[in-house]
Symmetry: C2
Subunit: 106 residues, 2 copies
């Protein structure tokens, strides 16, 4: 694996990694329903505002969401909806794992 290939895998991994956190996963799913401002998400998640803000900046930095300031509020929205496709695949991974587990405990 040369340096160029390595950089490509790192860029890809960064995007996926950004989704690899329960709170950020929740945020992405919620933004799929429509734009939300920071305190709305904060209320839903039940964490500190600063925590949510940092999660949002992670998602923004990799290009999954975008922000728009309107008045005193900042509204976030999903920039790349195809990330939602992850969910169905993840579910099938979880199911296949459940199946494996059942097999082992048979």
């Amino acid at each position: 694996m040369d340096a160029k290939a390595k950089a490509r895998y790192e860029a890809r991994a960064a995007v996926i990694k950004a989704m690899g956190h329960p709170t950020r996963l929740f945020i992405v799913e919620e933004l799929a329903r429509g734009e939300r401002c920071v305190w709305e998400l904060t209320e839903m998640v039940g964490a500190d505002v600063s925590t949510i803000s940092k999660h949002l900046s992670v998602l923004k930095n990799v290009g999954i969401v975008q922000d728009e300031k309107r008045g005193s509020q900042v509204f976030y929205s999903l920039l790349v909806p195809c990330v939602l496709n992850f969910f169905s695949c993840v579910e099938s991974v979880l199911q296949s794992r459940a199946k494996e587990h059942a097999k082992l405990t048979k």
Copy 2:
């Protein structure tokens, strides 16, 4: 978000998180071509065998790959091929980011 919902997001995030590492991403892509034993992957990646072995166990624990011992070697294979769908979406995230960047530097 109640405890049950939280647990569901954690389980999902764990699967995605397992993909969120350049080396593991490479391994998944390579296993999509067919089964590989540990040292083959080790050679391709160019890291320590123990490192690769640990990456493989991460992927195995979340149910993305499976292992099969044959003789003195352990062959890994992709259990849930739909994870490959991630790649095209990740590419479009990267492209949308590139586009944003171009807009900013205009």
